[in-house]
Amino acid sequence: MNLRNIPARWTSALVAVIGIAGVSLVLVAVLSIAEGFRAALEFSGSEDVAIVLRRGSTDELTSGLGQTSIPVITDAPGIRRTAAGAALVSPELFVIVDTKLRNKDTTANTPLRGVSPMAPRLRKNFELLQGRLAHEGTNEVIIGNGVAQQYEGLAVGRIVRWGSNDWHIVGRFSDRGGIAESEVWADAALVQQVFNRGASYQSARVRLTSVAAFQAFKDALDRDPRVNLRVERETVFYAEQQQLMQKLVSGLGWTLATMMGLGAILAALNTMYNAVASRVREIATLRAMGFGAAPVIASVLIESLVLGAVGGLLGGVLAYLLLNGMRSSTLNFQTFSQMTYAFTVTPRLLLTGIVYGLVLTFLAGLLPGIRAARTPITTGLREL
């Protein structure tokens, strides 16, 4: 019954729906960034790949591995080897270089990762899209697909200057949206040399013979007195890495949604007060018949919640249509470098948008509903 009243006041109902949709759109959009980060990081990890850092390090930037650590890691049990007997280990270091963003007048921190030739075999989603892999010991680099899309002048065949060196881009690779796509890969030894890192690395990635081999590998390194290392499964490491960004971005999303929500509540409140004001006599008539306060409040709330659900869904769907899958990049506070991600609007986020719309309109409908229920019947019946 109350829903049939909505068309009679469609302009104010539309304002409320648009307000809620705007809030839902922003909320879902920002949370989809966090979801994109999560997807990129969690998608990148493999259960049978271990990452080795210095003990006490929370990320690669704060880690440091001396040259002497590498043979100890390579000799540990449980490491998969090639047919030729080479261990699938990639000692890596990570530096940040400045690159101009595409279509912008600003530069951003680009992660340049020094890797071994084994690196592609340690990323489960690695796929060379264009060109070839870089030759060991040369100034050749391959660029992630995200990097190629986000930065200006990064394309196969181009030469780019980072540090004191000119780097030749010889290949472009995909990590199927994973974190490696945000990186440029170069020869680890050359990166050490150009960026004055001596013989140190920051991490080592290791492919294990099986998922179950992890514990033996970890125990061996934990017990070895020559090294002081932290060993984690790659999946666990990435899950930790995404938590900070998830919290930051989600916090931003909810802060924006809360501020915008206050505005949307006012619009919805106005709509619902108008709705109640235009139906004072109708409500009083119902109450004269014996309908209690609860059905009256429920009636106002249902109308309000319908507007909220429509607005929330509309915002979520708009976010999905406009943003889902769209690639962008932002600063990863864990590495202080740009990380590419895809806006990822999941069903859970759509639901979040709808629920948030419902919460806002519940708040907006409650006061007018209570007022409607508390207006004396005799007063209501006198209203024209």
């Binding site: 019954m1 109708e282 008539t285 018949m289 014996g290």
Partner: protein, 240 residues
């Protein structure tokens, strides 16, 4: 206690459906206390058709609202069918209204988004009747007011007289103890008004409905069994 005109003619206790004793109603308007009803006594027998007349502000509608349980007296007691309704909680009073009172309003007060059928069904939503039973009652009530063929029409598709007939059907659909009508012909032309009054008369005479009708129109009042005249919150006289 005031010696009201209705009191000497008070019906026997077994016939009495409405009993007011010492009812006073005060309102505060702009910080000033206004005495709308003053120590009113009234007894109405079951099956009566009473018109309440009086100048504006005499307390007619206030009296109707008090008898209908829409408002509470400042002082005094109100019994309907032996129940002291002034002592009921708001929720109980709501339930009592649903069971015992049918209201007919000057402006019909139909819900514009609902069909005549749905409007008449509204009071039955508070009962435990099944949908089928509700519809049976709705169609009986609509047939009684001569509008069964307009069941699916919305109020804006009906004339004023037809809207008021729907209002009456809604008021009688629960078979209430009291039918309280506030200026039921006040918004109608003469012909439609006469039809509504004929209908109310028929409900009273053929179905024994107890009707209290507030009106400014002496012609409307003539259709009632008797007329109670209020002035300045007091029952001044009664005419037949």
């Amino acid at each position: 206690m005031q010696d009201n005109v209705a009191h000497p003619d008070a019906p026997q206790a077994t016939d009495r459906v409405v009993q007011l004793r010492g009812v006073t109603k005060l309102y505060t308007r702009g910080g000033e206390v206004v005495r709308v009803l003053e120590m009113l006594d009234l007894d109405l027998p079951r099956g009566d058709f009473v018109a309440l007349m009086g100048p504006s502000g005499s307390g007619k509608t206030t009296l109707l609202n008090l008898i209908g349980g829409l408002d509470r007296p400042t002082e005094g007691s109100i019994e309907v069918d032996g129940l002291a309704i002034d002592r009921l909680s708001s929720a109980a009073l709501g339930r009592w209204r649903a069971d015992h009172v049918g209201f007919v309003f000057q402006m019909y007060n139909l819900l514009p988004v609902l069909s005549a059928e749905r409007n008449v069904e509204l009071p039955l939503l508070l009962t435990k009747l099944s949908r089928r039973e509700r519809l049976q009652r709705v169609h009986t009530a609509l047939a009684l007011v001569g509008l069964e063929d307009r069941a699916r029409h919305r109020p804006r598709e009906l004339s004023g007289g037809q809207e008021q007939r729907v209002g009456i059907a809604r008021a009688i659909v629960t078979d209430p103890t009291l039918l309280l009508c506030d200026e039921p012909t006040g918004d109608l032309d003469r012909k439609s008004g006469d039809e509504i009054l004929d209908l109310l008369r028929a409900l009273n005479q053929e179905f024994g409905k107890t009707i209290i009708m507030v009106t400014h129109d002496p012609r409307a009042a003539e259709r009632a069994n008797r007329t109670l005249h209020l002035d300045k919150g007091r029952l001044e006289r009664q005419t037949h």
